[in-house]
Every structure is written in structure tokens, then in C-alpha cells.
Amino acid sequence: MAYPAEVPALSDRYLGRPKMDVARCGADCQACIDVCPTDAIVRETRQEGTMGAGKVDERTSKALRIDLGRCLFCQECVKACPEGAIEFTGNHRLAARTRSDLVVEGEAKRLFAALDERMLRVFRRSLKLRQVSAGGCNACEADVNVLNTIGFDWGRFGIQCVASPRHADGLLVTGPVTENMRAALLKTYEAVASPKLVIAVGACAISGGPFSGLGAQNDGLGTLLPVDLYIPGCPPHPLTILEGLLGLLGRIEHDAPP
């Protein structure tokens, strides 16, 4: 496929990036919050919205935000919203560099920056990754594997999964990090030479996904490892994964920060 020059046609039912028109939210409505299975929708009560002489901008102070790192893209919120304020836009560009950039408000422009100059010089044309599955359901793993096939062929960008962490420039982690995989994950990370990258693929690796809160897992990479790239989805579309990686390597144009 010609990606990134051309974006292949996805299913008309593919959901992609959600968008929320908070201006339409009813005063005390929290229907979307109530139905969300992973508490991905949060109500921010912020003070930044304060305008002038102690007057509060009502709309801003109650702004609802969607945490893409928790979202399973199940559409329960869309069905529950009486105002039709939430829609999924079919935009596959979801990856972010920081955890907080995954929490989006309204139609806020996506924040994204490539690696810095020093890291780009090392990794831009050749990125070897060691994949670690740490409690994943094998869907993220499958859609990482597909990037190896003749269709997506991430090898043409110098990206490859390698067998040993000693040969790797970083880890690509899937799954909520089960207790039973925590030690193996940390050992694998230690075995990778610096400078190294950590890429969290899927809702589980970012937040625990559908398993968040369960005692046998750790709600994702969280504080266990420093994460350089977050790729949301349950599982993310292969295109979303590839787009995130190419963005990280400065090989694809991104929306400018607002």
C-alpha cells in the first residue's frame, strides 16, 4: 500500500477518533459517564475557565473529556447521549507522546511531536523493537504482526521486530502488565541498551483497558516504565500503530499544536 502517501479505505463502520461537542451537554447530564465501561469520560472541574470578576464560564468548567487511553471504542456513550454530542470521526490518527495528550476535549487539535534531534539521528532510519506481550488478549499482537506482512510492510521504513532485547532499540508493549509478567517485562527492558524507547500499544498497555482495577494486573505500563509513545485502541488499527511510529520518527506530517 502507498501509505503514508495515500490512506487506504477503511470500513465505513471504523470508528477512529471521537469528538465531543460539549456545548450541547445538558446541565447535569452525565449519561455518557454512567455507561462508559472503562470510565474513559471524565468531567473536569477546572478553574482556568474563570472569566473576569469571579464569573465562571459554565461550559468550560464542566467540560467533559474523553481519555483515549481508556476508551474501548464501544460507542456506548454515543448511544446514551440524548443530545447527539459525541461522534466518532473515522480518523485513524490517535497516537500521542504523553499520557495527558490522550485526554481530549471537544475538537481540540491533536498534540504530537517527533523525537528530538539527537534521538532522530539514531532511530529515524532504523528502529528495531522487541515486542513484549504482558497480558494482552492477542488482538494487539495480531495487528502488530500484520505490519510485517506484504500489505503494510513496516520494513520499508526500517522498522522491524527482533528476537532479542539485546538487538532492540526499544520495547513495544501490549497488555495490562499482568503480575505474572511484570518481572519478565522489567528484565527485558533492562536488557535493551540505551538510548531506548518504550511504546505502549492498546488500551490495556496504557490503562489496563477492560481489565483495569483487577488485582492480577497493573493497569498498564503506568509507573513501571517511561513511555515514549502511546497508541490507543482496543485493539488499535494497524494503520494507527504505523502512523504513531512514523510520527515518532518524524517521517509523517502531523497536525500542528493549537
Binding site: 522487541r130 500484520v146 500489505g151
Partner: protein
Amino acid sequence: MTSLLTIRNGTAAPLRTIPILGAVEFAEAVVGAPARGRRVASLFALPWGTSRAPHLAVVLAHDDAGVLECGVTEIVGHRFASMTESCPEVHLFEREIAENWSVVPEGHPWLKPVRRWQTPNDTTTAEFFQMAGDEIHEVAVGPVHAGVIEPGHFRFQCHGEHVFHLEIALGYQHRGIEGALVGGPKKRTIHQIETLAGDTTIGHAIAYCQLIEALIEEPATARGRTLRAIALELERLANHVGDLGALAGDVGFLPTASFCGRLRGDLLNMTALLSGNRFGRGLVRPTGVALDCEPARGQMLLERLHAAARDIEDAVSLLWTSPSVMSRFEEVGRVTTATARSLGLVGPAARASGLARDVRAHHAGDFFGASPFDLVTNEAGDVFSRAYVRWLETRWALDFVRARLLGLPDGPIRARENVPSTLGASLFAVSLVEGWRGEICHVAATDDGGRFLAYKVVDPSFHNWMGLQMALRDQQISDFPLCNKSFNLSYCGHDL
């Protein structure tokens, strides 16, 4: 012979109608099952009565009669007599019960942890079967493997390249889903079901929804059932075709490997055409499906299937006529019919060892409509046999999906939009689905408030991992990847 409760797939019965057997009668029913044409679909501990004391509960599948038989027995003094020596197919079930409920199956020949090891985080310190002798050596692999694959630990007892024994330790993927399901259904339940094993999203979701439908006495609509069957076979197609390609890759036969990698993607994209998600998330819901297949969408699916079927035929047929492939597939990783039967294997692995077991043939009711179902078996039990069975199933599924798309029943896609938050009270229900790896078995019991008192999932991999271990005996260690791929079992489905 004490009579067990007889029910059909996808039906419920009051908990009080399940006979409580004495320990001896219960053991006789389980141990004698294979001789009476039954096999163990599930064996687990069920909190029973007002005390909620764990009782052993068994679900036997009587395939020829198309029925399931259920019974329970009290666990007295935290111990029961192990049945594994005389009925090996319960070996892992007993280990699981011992681990989850702190009870002892007395006399179990190899009682060790399934998912919760004594040394946290490290199964490799657990006891493994060991051989002694000059130049005998052990090879340890995993949990982090060379490929993009789930974690597991493999311990080989070798003499040179020759493998005498392989023992597989799992549990790395354990998330604790069964425990999380108790007290449900909750708003997260269906999402946890869809991710029990992500490559079997459709299979597990159907098993769950059939249970819910039995527990609320509201069957799925005809159109919903047909769309489920289509999605289930698309899931089978994507995985069978992908694995046939991966098998080709493991013997260095790149044309089929490359083609099938792409074709698998085409098949996943057909599922995405139905559900928006390549694994079918959000499609199967209680009393039917959430998304319809309008005529234009059906037409597009048919056109894509037509093109894919032609390419799949071309790509896969190359395997059977290439001596370099066949010489690597044949007589490697053999599991005899007797071994397969005694271990209780299911799915293509069982059928490739000559066992006629398939939920679609024996327990599917009218799930597949009027389409005649071909139960495929092959006696050889080797890598070739497992590959060829999957090829024949691929062909059947291609025809089936096309036929059902052309004959979609009219009417609503589901009977109701929202399922009541409480189910029928004090019921017991069993649901079987033939996923692409084999029999998926979900069993639920509800409390007097209509909530899940217990929810037991048996992924086909739970039955089949021991089959892979037996397949490796007396093989070259270099054939492990090939044997492993010919089973392609689920780690998370086993570990849940």
C-alpha cells in the same frame, strides 16, 4: 448408574434440579464418561447452597445424543479423590480447582500450579519433570519469545536434537477475568468476554450471549443468529488462512506465507466491514447482533469473498503439491487417536487425530440453518493432518458464508436493545460454541438475585495444550515451531 441432569446447549435449568451425587457416584460418572461416549466439557468448583461451600460440578458432553449432562458433589474436608489417573482429560481441571479453592485432589500425579506460582513472577522456579542421564540436557524457552507472540515457558528434555519430553508452564497472561465476572452482568462484562481471547472475540461473545439468552428466556432472532454464524465462520477463515500461511513460513515456503498474510488481512477487513473492528468487537450482543448487514453491504462482502476464495485456493493448494512442504508436514508432531481421546482434545487438533468432535455437528441446534455441515476428520494426527483439516474447514466456511449471505432471514437483528441487569434467579446454564480452535464452553450459575454466582470459561486451548506437549515427544527440537503453529493455541484463553 445415577442419572445426571440432561440439558441442551444454550438452555438453562434451575440449580436445584442438578443432582447432588455421592463422591463415589460422581467419580464413576466422570471416570466412566469416555467409555460411555461422553467427554468432559467442564469440571469446576461451584459455590453451593446457602453456605456457598464449593462443590465439584461437571458438564459432560454426549455428542452422539446432542445433549449435556450435569451433576455436582460436595467437597468434604477440603479434599477429594483425584480422577486424573483413570481419566487423564481432567488433569488440568483438577489442578485449577486445587489452585482456586485451596482443596486437594488426593492422588493427582502431577499437582502443580496452573497460574499462581509459589514464587511470584517466576514459573521457571517451579518443579519440572526431569530426566537424568549422560548428555541429557534441558532447554528452557520463554516467557519472552523471539516472535510477536504471547508469553509461555517451555521446558524440553533433550538428548542432542531429540526431544524426549516437553513441559509447558503457563499463567503469564492471567488477568483474573472469571473472578471479575462474578456478581455481573456489569457494564464491563461483555468487553471482558470479547477479550478473553482477542482472536476469538466472536466465538466467546456468542457463547456468552447464548448463556444470557438462556438465563432471560429470550432467544436471539433468526437474522441475528445467521449474522453470528457468518461472523463466526469469518473468524475461523481469518485464523485458518493466517495459520496455513504461518505453517508455510515455518518450513521456509514463502509464496504461501506471503499470500496468506495478506489474505488473512482481507478476511479481518471483512469482519471490519460488518462491525467496524477487525476482530468483531461490538458485533455480537444478547438476543442478536448490534449491527445489520444491509443488502449493499452483503453484496460487497460477497464480492470480496469471491475474490478472496480464488486467491486462497491458489495460495494454499501450492502446499499440498510441493514435496518440500509435504516432507516437512508429514509424520511430524503426531498425536494418535488414543492419546487425543484420553486427553480430551477438541477442535481441529482432535479432528486431525481422527476424533469426530465438533459443536457445529452435535450441539448447534439450528445455528447453521439449513446448510449441511461437513464434519471433517483425518486419521494421521500429524502436522499435515492438522493443516489439512483446517484447509477443508476453510473451504466449507467459504461456501457457508456465501450461502448464508444470499439467504439472510428477514426481521430484526436483535430481540431487545437492552438486557435486564438481573437474570433469572438460581439457574444453571451451559453454552457451547465451536470456535476456530475448538469447543468454547461457558457455564453460568445465578444467585437468588439473578446475578452471576459463578462463571466458568473453558477455552479450547485449556484442553489442547497437553496435546502439543505429547506431539513433541520423539521429535527434533527444531520442529517445535512447526508443531506449535499447527496447534496455535491461546495463552490468554488458557490463563484468562
